[in-house]
Every structure is written in C-alpha cells, then in structure tokens.
C-alpha cells in the first residue's frame, strides 16, 4: 500500500498574501488512518485536492510511493486517481436515473472501453458489504444514508490503495453518519488502504484513528 511523502509543498492563489497551504514535510505510512481537522478555510480541501491529484502541484513534491504527482499532467493525474484513489464526498455525486449498481460502475465504465466482467460482480459484492440489498434500485429513491453507502461502494470498486473522505458525514443524520464512519474505517482496514478523512464531526475525534493532523491557516499543526 502506498506511502505518502510530501516535501516543500506550497500552494498559493493569486490575490492572497500568504500561501493557502504550506507543507514543508509530511510522511504517512502505508495503511495509516488519518483524521484531518481544521477550521473552514484552513486548507483542508486544498490539501485533499493536492494529494488526490485534482489540483496540480505547483511547487514542491507529492509522492505516493514512486509516483510524483508534481510530474504528472492533468490526464496522467486523472488516470492515476482512477486507479489508486477512492473518493467519498460530503455531497454524494450520484447520478439520478441510474440504479445503485450502475452508479457504482459508472466511473469504471467511463474510464475504459469494455467493462471487465468481474467488475460487475465486485460491485454487487461491495453493495452488499455496505448494506445495500437492492442493487437495482434507482439511486434517487434511496435515503441519504443509503446514498452515502453507495458512494462508499463506488469509491472502493477499483480496489484503491488510498481512500479519501471529505466531510463524509456532514450531510447525514447522526445514526447514518456513525454507520458510514464505521464502514470507512472497517473497509480501509479490510483492504489495507491508506485512509484520510477530513471532518469536523466529533464522531471521528472519538474514533480509533492512528493519526490526527490539524491545519491552521494552511500549516500543519501537531
């Protein structure tokens, strides 16, 4: 499983005096479970965008094992992310009109010409694992908690070594949030993936995560 090594990372936006994010040095061990906290605007989203390759690395190096994201172009980062990163967002970004199963399979379908036959079975297994029993149900008819479960199954389809969750419980009620939080930790542990959760939710503060990172005004504290 990939290790993360960040060196001399600086992210600046025009019109801002100080960098939005400055990480001189950060190492995460493979399979670590990390909780990222910080106030709004502290740079959590920028951090996640950089380590998932959604934003280009302008200065510094961000290496997952042997891959330096700073050296990849936009298409290269897209392909790397598709193969290595599972994303769970606050908003589920599921597509109404498609079934739960089709939503899980959609990114894979749009990444290659022909879907490997085994993938469909894997998607059904994942849906069953996150507790969605009717894979053929249209996604807009699910509850919000169920929708986030489908999103978790989608994030895991490519067997990613990195699982990233951005405020995964913020739009759920307490019970659903706890279930999703539990699923993320369990599934990351089952697959050995490195898990990074950015969240305000005190739920995670109580959870058994190996490591906490706190961002304050774009700098890592503690």
């Amino acid at each position: 499983m990939p290790r993360l090594a960040i060196r001399d990372l600086v992210v600046s936006y025009p019109g801002l005096g100080r960098p939005a994010l400055a990480v001189p040095r950060l190492d995460l061990a493979a399979g670590e479970h990390v909780l990222l906290t910080g106030a709004s605007g502290a740079g959590k989203t920028t951090f996640l965008n950089i380590v998932t390759g959604l934003e280009p690395v302008a200065a510094g190096r961000v290496r997952w094992d042997e891959i330096d994201l700073a050296a990849l172009g936009e298409g290269g980062r897209d392909r790397w992310r598709a193969a290595h990163v599972g994303l769970v967002m606050q908003e589920f970004h599921l597509f109404p009109g498609l079934s739960a199963l089709d939503n899980v399979l959609l990114p894979a379908r749009l990444a290659r010409f022909r879907l490997p036959a085994a993938l469909s079975g894997e998607a059904e297994r994942l849906l069953a694992r996150v507790g969605i029993t009717r894979a053929g149900q249209k996604v807009e008819t699910l509850s919000r908690g169920q929708m986030q479960r489908v999103a978790v199954a989608r994030a895991l389809l490519a067997r990613p070594g990195i699982l990233i969750a951005d405020e995964p419980t913020a739009s759920l009620d307490a019970e659903s949030g706890a279930a999703v939080a539990g699923l993320l930790a369990e599934l990351a542990a089952e697959t050995g993936a490195t898990l990074i959760i950015a969240s305000h939710d005190p739920l995670f503060a109580r959870a058994n995560l190996n490591r906490r990172l706190h961002l304050d005004a774009g700098r890592l504290v503690g």
Binding site: A82, L87, F95, L98, P107, A111
Partner: protein
C-alpha cells in the same frame, strides 16, 4: 457510456424533446421548401406532356398555357374560326382540336372540343366518344356515371352561375386517368358550346327563354362544321405536329398578328425560372431560420452544461476519463440534434405531401413529392454543422476542473 447518456437524456426528456422539436421544425421548413418546389415543377411538367403546341389569340403566353393546359378559367381573347380550319388542313399537323371554355358543372369545367383530343389525351376507359351534340365524355375524376344527365351552368368567368335550363347533356364515355387537370373536365362537342352561346346571345340577357337550344343540340356531331371559315372564334387550339421540325415551323408560322403559338414546355420553363427564384428566397429564409435555431440551441445547451458542471466534473474526480466526459456531452448534443433532424425530414415530407395533396385537389395536377439523392447533401451538411457546434459545450466540459466541480 451510452447507458449513462440515455439515462441522462431520459431525465431531461422534456427539455430534450423541446430542443429536438425546434430542430425538427427548422429542418422541416427547409425540406418542405425543396420538396414542394420540386413537386410543383414535376407535376406541372407531367401535366403539360400531352400538349405539344397550343395556338391562341395574341395575348399573354402564360395565360394561354394556364387556361388550355391547366384549365384555369380566365376570359381569353378569341381568334377567328378560320385558324382552326387552316390547321386541320395543314399537312404538318397530325391532328388539331379546339379548346373552348365557358360552362361548368359543380365547379368542374365543361370544355368544348373535338374527337381527336379524346384520343390525344389518352383515350377512353369506358363508353364511347360523343357522337351527338348533347353527349358528353367525362374526365376520370368527375363524379358522374355513364348514362347520367346534367345541365351545364355558366362558368364563373362569365359572372354568377346561371343554369342553362333548356340544355341537357348525357354522359356517354369516360376518359382514362391522365394525371392532369383534364381529369376534372367534362368534354363536349365544341359545336354544342357554340350553339348554346349563340342562342343565348340571340335571346338577350333576359335568359334562355326565347330560343330552345336543346332541340338544336339533338343533332349528330358534324366534323365539317369545324372547317367552315365562318366558324365561331376560339380561345385555344391544341396542335399535334407530325415532326419536331414541323412543330418549330408551325410555331413560327402561327406567331403573327392574329394568332400566338406557344410550346407549353417553353412557357413552363420560364415559369420554373420564377419558381426557382422564389425557392431560393424561401431556401434563404429557411437557412436563416435554421441558423437562428442553431444559435438558440447552442445557447440552451451551454446553459445546460454550465448548470451541470458539478455532475460532469464529478465524473472525472471519480475516475472517468477526460475524453469520456467530452464524448458524453458531444454525443448527447449530436443525438438530440440528429433525432431532431430525422424527425424534421419526416415532418417536411409530410408537410409537402399535405400541401401537394391540397393543391392537387384544387388544380387537378397530381404533385409527386419525393426525395432525390442530392437532398442528402444539405442534410449531411446540417448534421456536420451540428457535430461541429456540439464540440463547443463538449470542450467546455472537457476543460472543467474536477476540483471546482466537486465544490459546486
């Protein structure tokens, strides 16, 4: 990918249907203009086929052709009766037949003529030709039966309809279908037409009370009456020359102070020139409409794509290939435009058909509506233009940053 596109289109089906419908209507406009102009050209050319040379009194060539070939009622100037006599005796003439208008029956023209015209227009389907002055041969589309009797009415060209009370024709034959306005005509001996109007002229405007023309009509057709130099004036004569050379000589000889000879085909060609100009104007209007529709649709699609930034960008964040995002948007647009185009071709065809049928009912000229191979070209160009235009929103989606899209 197609499954996703179809699900997406289904979800926006009303908007998609509205856009496709607008595209369809714009396409239909262009298609209908092309088809209708062609149908009118082909239909009228076929109707004029049997009419090699028409001789009339000096005046409008167009009016002469419209009245004789297409039986459009209009008061034509008359030429002296001896012109027909001269033509009938001319060795360059295979046959010649008078065309005299005047009366009508239930809105259908009664045309006075002679026996050769019956054969010249294709012959009889049933019954026999007129042998007596009060016998009539009906066109294929006239709703009368053999043995029916009818009273003619004054044609509109002469004012309000007025029944010739004393005159009765009996139907003795029916023509084969000719695909011309003559299918709606009732053919009677020209002498009968002459006699009725002579009798009425004698009786004066008070009505047909004085003379008893019916008695005068109960007589056999006398071909020699046409040869008489004192024969009544005629509005038009249909002439079948023996050879092409004869046709040109006759046309030259009969263009003078007292007569005007025209090839209907020649007059029609001139009309088609005008028709072609009209078509160009209409085609330009249709093209303009299509361009406007294209712009409006591009705008609608842009707004749609901008609203869906998050969705489309999210696809990439979750692992969709960048090219797939481009293809989805491009294919969606092309599918909607293509569907609209196809429906539009159908609508245009149906519209031209409906219009042609309506015109055919009014004029008796069947108008064949059909596509030609060259019609595919502008449609292909239109589709190509749509495909190129679709690149714009596709590129916008392609360039959409997934990170921004996720945040909305």
């Amino acid at each position: 990918m197609l499954g996703f596109i179809l699900a997406d289109l289904r979800r926006h089906r009303w908007g998609v249907a509205a856009i496709a419908l607008i595209v369809a209507l714009a396409t239909a406009l262009g298609v209908a203009v092309t088809l209708q102009e062609r149908a009118m050209r082909l239909g009228s050319a076929r109707a004029a086929d049997a009419f090699d040379l028409v001789v009339g009194a000096p005046g409008s060539e167009t009016q002469l052709v419209l009245s004789s070939v297409f039986l459009q009622a209009a008061p034509l100037p008359l030429m002296p009766g001896r012109v027909l006599a001269g033509l009938l005796q001319d060795p360059r003439v295979a046959w010649a037949a008078p065309i005299g208008f005047g009366d009508e029956i239930d809105g259908r023209p009664i045309v006075g003529t002679s026996a050769p015209l019956l054969e010249g227009l294709g012959g009889l389907a049933e019954g026999r030709g007129f042998g007596r002055l009060n016998e009539a041969v009906i066109g294929a589309a006239v709703p009368l039966r053999l043995g029916d009797r009818f009273h003619p009415m004054h044609g509109h060209a002469f004012g309000v309809g007025l029944v010739h009370g004393g005159v009765t024709y009996g139907v003795v034959g029916r023509m084969k279908p000719t695909g011309t306005p003559w299918d709606r005509a009732v053919l009677v001996p020209i002498e009968a037409v002459w006699r009725i109007h002579h009798a009425e002229a004698a009786a004066g405007p008070a009505g047909p009370g004085g003379a008893q023309p019916d008695e005068g009509l109960d007589a056999p057709v006398d071909p020699s009456a046409l040869l008489s130099p004192e024969a009544t004036g005629l509005p038009a004569i249909l002439v079948k020359p023996r050879t092409v050379a004869d046709a040109y000589k006759l046309r030259r000889d009969y263009r003078g102070e007292t007569t005007l000879a025209v090839f209907p085909a020649e007059v029609l060609t001139r009309l088609y020139g005008t028709l072609g100009d009209v078509r160009l104007v209409l085609a330009a209007i249709a093209t303009g409409a299509q361009a406007l529709v294209g712009a409006a649709i591009l705008l609608a699609i842009l707004v749609h794509v901008l609203q869906r930034r998050r969705q489309i960008g999210a696809l990439r964040a979750f692992g969709a290939a960048r090219l797939a995002v481009f293809s989805i948007v491009w294919l969606e647009v092309v599918l909607v435009l293509g569907a609209g185009l196809l429906v539009g071709v159908g609508l245009g065809w149906a519209g031209a058909r409906a219009l042609s049928n309506q015109l055919a009912r009014q004029t008796g000229v069947p108008m064949p509506v059909g596509f030609m191979p060259e019609d595919a070209m502008p449609l292909a160009l239109l589709l190509l233009a749509g495909a190129v235009v679709a690149v714009v929103p596709a590129v916008l989606a392609y360039r959409q940053s997934p990170a921004e899209a996720l945040r909305g």
